[in-house]
Structures are given as C-alpha cells and as structure tokens.
Symmetry: none
Subunit: 183 residues, 2 copies
DNA sequence: GCGCATTGCGCAATAG
DNA sequence: TCTATTGCGCAATGCG
C-alpha cells in the first residue's frame, strides 16, 4: 500500500571512481518473521555489487552500510588485516540470513542498552534532587539544633553564674536575659 | 512471509506491496574526492533497482542511507510528502559537494553535542558524590549537636532540679542521671 | 569461540 | 539557513 517513489536516475550510471563498493537496498516491512531475499547483481565488473535485502523492518527504515573492508577510522586506521578473508569471505555476506539475524539481534541489544543507559542517567538526576532535598532538610535541622543549643547554653551559663557567684535563689532567678541566640 | 515487490522503473519506482518501507542504497568507497556514479540494472523485471553513489568518504568508510521516503518510524510512516521533490530532487544528491559539506558539519555538531552530553552526565555523577559527602558531613554535625544538646539539657535539668528542690549545691550535684539523650 | 552489552560513528529528521 | 539534539543502524570491542 505504500508506494514509494524514488527518483533515482535510471540510466546506467557508471561508477567511475574506484574504491567503490557496495550498494544496498533495504526494505522494511513489518511482520514478525523474517523472510529474506537477496539479490546480487554484478553490474560493472570490478566495481560494485548490489544487493537487495528484505529485512524484517522493525520500526525504522534506515540502514547503514560500512565499507566492506574495515578500513581504519581516521587516518591512522590499520590496514585491513588480511586475515579477515579467511573467516567467511570478506564482505561477510550482507545478504546472508545469518548476518541479518545477527544485525537484528544487535540492534535490539543496542536499543536495550541505550534505554538502560538513559534510564540510569535519569535516575542519577533524580538522585541529585533527592540528595539536595535531604541536604536542605539536614541543614534546617542543624539550624534548629544550633539555636536550641545556643539558648540552652546561655541559660546554663547564666545559672552557673548565679551558682558560682553567690547563689541567691530568690532574686535573679529567671530574669537574666542579656542575650539572644547567636550561632 | 511478507512479500515485497518492487517495480522499479527507470525513473520512478513503485513499491506496491504494503507495509513496505524503505529502500536504501549504500555504498562505501574510500578515496577522497567524490565522484558519483550510479548503476542500474534491470535484471529481473519488477524486482530491484540499484544505484551506486560514490561519496567523498571522509575518514571512515561508512555511509548510511536513509530510506528514500521519510516513512515514519514505528510503522506509521506517512507516505512520501510529495513536496519533497521540489526542493532538489528526492535523493538530494548525495554526491553533491554541498551535501558533503553539510554532512561534515553535522557530524562535527553531533560529535560536539555528544561530548557535551557525556560531560554533563559525568558532572551530574560527580554532583551526586559531592552531595553525598555533604550529606554525611551534615549528618555527623547533627549527631554532634544532638549529643551536645542532650548533655546540656541534662545538666540544665539537673541544676534546675537542684535549684527548685532545695538548693544544696554540695550533695547531688552531678549524679542525677535518670535519662539519656533521646532525640 | 559465542553471544549479549557497550561504545564510537555517520546519517537523517527535527528542534531551536 | 545553520547549529544542536535525538533516534537509529552498523561495527568494533568489551566481557562473561
């Protein structure tokens, strides 16, 4: 039902540069299973291969294609370890069923991992707020205690004074105030 | 199980199945400049079209190709807004020099943004530790103040007692304990 | 060695 | 229009 229109030049285009590489066509569909279809065309000899892959198409429709050879990133990339070839053919069949399955799984894993990461970040942020609140609470408490202490100290000193001075229980009993609270 | 049928005709392709989704073509190349090329093969009729594009290939060798149509994520993709064509031809010349420059700039921006994001996350984490330490400090202070208060209260009560009782500064002066500190 | 988890990276879409 | 963000897929790599 969806009709896609692509205005791709139709004629034959030539890839004249070298180094070229691979082309992929991907389509996403939706069902759950996966059917695979691969097509490969060997158009111009030596320069380019194309394959059409029908992927399960989860939600999105993007695909990415790496160069066939590892080609080190940046300029310092190490050359392609020649040993790669032995494993499973250089290009590692991008059309291969197995390849697709692996990609799919990895994509899931990536999604999961990112979600987790995001969640964690959020939790951390929340933790900050939590701690900030806690801090305020504690700070307030300290203020209170400090004040209480101050008052008590004053009272105490006062009495101590009285006691030390002359001890005259009747006169200056509760009217000594000469202070406030000062941390 | 889903089947996709693509009828690619030279200029316009129609994908007539449903749910379809996206088609992408990718290729990696490596050299520095960019030459473009496309290749098209009309092998089996109705099933597949391909074009190859040669991109400048910066440092890495990866390329990504988006689906030609915006195809909303999640499956609810809206059809291709027909308006896109007017701008610069759908595919927006991947080979275009301008395109490459834009990509380059965006890649920089992305890198920057991610760095920033990472930095922020790290700062947040640090903030958590900072706050935790602060909390401990405050907690300790509270403990101390509480204890001090308790002691002072006791002393104070004691004296008050003495004063209220009979006022006999010598006998039970510092041995009244009948309590502890209970916050 | 295998399979999932992480991470860096580029592409696009989109927000600002 | 340009940059900043964000989601996504691919690979390389970490890790058990």
């Amino acid at each position: 039902m969806v009709h896609v229109k692509i205005s791709w030049q139709c004629g034959v285009e030539t890839i004249d540069h070298l180094a070229l590489i691979s082309a992929r066509l991907v389509l996403a569909r939706e069902s759950a299973q996966m059917s695979k279809i691969s097509q490969q065309n060997s158009g111009t000899p030596g320069v380019n291969g194309i394959s059409v892959i029908h992927t399960p198409a989860h939600a999105s429709g993007l695909q990415q294609v790496p160069q066939l050879v590892p080609a080190g990133p940046g300029g310092g990339g190490k050359a392609v370890p020649p040993s790669k070839q032995s494993k499973k053919s250089s290009p590692m069949d991008r059309n291969s069923d197995e390849y697709r399955q692996r990609r799919e799984r990895n994509n899931m894993a990536v999604k999961k991992s990112r979600l987790k990461s995001k969640q964690k970040a959020q939790d951390t942020l929340q933790r900050v707020n939590q701690l900030k609140e806690e801090n305020e609470r504690l700070e307030a408490k300290i203020k209170l205690l400090t004040k209480e202490l101050s008052v008590l100290k004053d009272l105490f000193l006062e009495h101590a004074h009285n006691l030390a001075d002359n001890v005259q229980p009747s006169s200056t009993e509760k009217t000594t105030n000469s202070d406030s609270a000062g941390q």
